[in-house]
Amino acid sequence: MALVEPTGAGERRSDFITVSGRPLGRCYGPVIGRDQEYVRELGDPGEYPYTRGIHPTMYRGRLWTMRQFAGFGTAEDSNARYRFLLGEGQTGLSVAFDFPTLLGYDSDHPRSEGEVGKLGVAVDTLADMEILFEGIPLDRVSTSMTINAPAAILWAMYIAVAEKQGVSRDRITGTIQNDILKEYMAQKTFVFPPRPSLRLVVDTFAFGAEEVPRWNTISISGYHIREAGATAAQELAFTLANGREYVLAGIARGLDVDEFAPRLSFFFNSHVDFLEEIAKFRAARRIWAREMRERFGATNPRSWMLRFHTQTAGCSLTAQQPENNIVRTTLQALAAVLGGTQSLHTNSMDEALALPSEDAVRLALRTQQVIALESGVANTVDPLGGSYCLETLTRQLEQEAQDYFDRVDRLGGVVPAIELGFFQREIADAAYRYQRRVEAEELAVVGVNCHAGGPPPAVNLLRVNPATEHRQVDRLQAVRRHRDDRAVERALRGVRAAARGSDNLMYPLLEAVRAYATLGEMMGVLREEFGEYREEAIF
């Protein structure tokens, strides 16, 4: 095998040696050397179309970010979990919000009853956000926030907290998910109709390009599409179709594609089929690079590079024999690493039953550390590149994605296709087929439809403190009592004016956040101005 690059500069060690003492090169390529097809379809790592990875050195230069999605209860509970994770060697934060926050309701709204702090942390005002990041230096830790409809507001809160810590907005790093299109397709935590939602997304692109240059203003997510039951090809195609839609929206606003495209990031699922998943990640990079360069005319190589976070497949976890989930997650994490992910969340073994306990989440983090530090797969770039099987799967997935793009284009684009229920129907069909195949035992799920039985699991589950809701509502009401109501009203008027017009909403939202307006108040104004989306149920 031809050695593309020997050990070079910018790597985390001066040499990489196998456990038996053999030196390992940075990257291996075709024995006969690079031919036209290799250059066109693969390219070396760090070279267009980036099939083999976006950096020449990949994990030899820097390991992926180990980022465990976490959040529950009040801001104090979650802050403690973040400090624990950072103490255990995690390198980035990832915030899970509860349902009322995701849907823009305050914790004392009648619809929030029973939901506060259950599946994530409750955030009503800047006061909660201050506690959430207390003692965590926002100039050194990057933070990913899984938030969509109210993404602009939570981002404004984060910026305000950083500035209170003395960290200016141009120094903070992180990601807001902010991918509203996949909400209509799969995750369903939408609030406003698609068109005003897209406007809000583009406002964040423009604000980010101007003011927060190191922040990823969107994480275009296939994860939830896959969790809703899609196939690998659907996940790939629908995610990238959404990506194209955001680029179009940015261009339509008059933004220069090379100004915002480098801040677009992606988020994929790593499911159980090891080789198909690796192929999916590689196909995603190649398709995106080609779309950005050929279709959108981007000239900055950073616009061509698809950077992505991966989470192992929550839907693959089983309540039966939960220890098996550790093994599943390990394989899925390995696929993500061999697929060249930039950051990774590994699920905990108990997540089919509840939010993860501290012990389970530590074990999940250790899984990444074993892959990174012991297995050796991080010591050479794209070790599977050139595999006949893998390259074929990669080409097939690319073709299937292309076929879906054509179908979406024929329907008039992503938003009309959403309104027609196209994606929803494709996903629901795939979910049902999958379940039928599992029950027909055409697909094996170890511990469920084969090798089942054994004693019921003795797993120690996390229980969210039942006093959470009460405590959260008390704090919210105290904030409302102590703030300057006139300042809040003034700020909310500013939000309304911007919503009616075309001024960037980020500026008035920052004002409102600083005045301690509640999430529900700000979202309430936007609900009045933008209307609410109701979905057609598609089967």
């Binding site: 309701y105 619809r111 029973g114 839907c315």
Partner: protein
């Protein structure tokens, strides 16, 4: 001919996970049942009222948000207030074993946790509906 069983599949609260609810709804349909789907984000009051109006034999509540302890008993008490006391209630989703007794106590007939087989759910529902006049 056997009478046609009517089932309502309901999504209470702010929970947005609808994969399971939709898969179960399709399984019911393919087993020859009529399935009324409520859509997402329904209040307990809306679900109870709808179940009464639709006169379903079985109300299958899908919930993965952890809010079951509050929402499910409220659905059942509203059902009783509205004259739907003979509608049988099933719960499915991520519901920890420890929470099951309280739900049964509140009037749920059975809880189906993660990984429950569709044919088991369908058969149980059919049997249950048969016991309703």
């Amino acid at each position: 001919m056997d009478r046609i069983i009517r089932v309502m599949v309901a999504k209470p609260g702010l929970d947005s996970h609808d994969r399971g609810a939709k898969v179960v709804a399709r399984a019911y349909r393919d087993a020859g049942m009529e399935v009324v789907y409520t859509g997402l984000h329904q209040t307990p009051e809306q679900i109870a009222e709808a179940a009464v109006q639709e006169d379903v034999d079985v109300l299958a509540v899908s919930i993965l948000s952890g809010a079951h302890a509050v929402l499910v008993p409220r659905i059942i008490s509203r059902l009783r207030e509205r004259g739907g006391d003979d509608i049988l209630v099933l719960a499915g989703g991520v519901i920890p074993e420890a929470d099951v007794p309280a739900l049964l106590e509140a009037g749920v007939t059975r809880v189906f946790g993660p990984g429950s087989r569709l044919d088991l759910i369908v058969d149980f529902t059919r049997e249950l509906a048969g016991s309703r006049i």
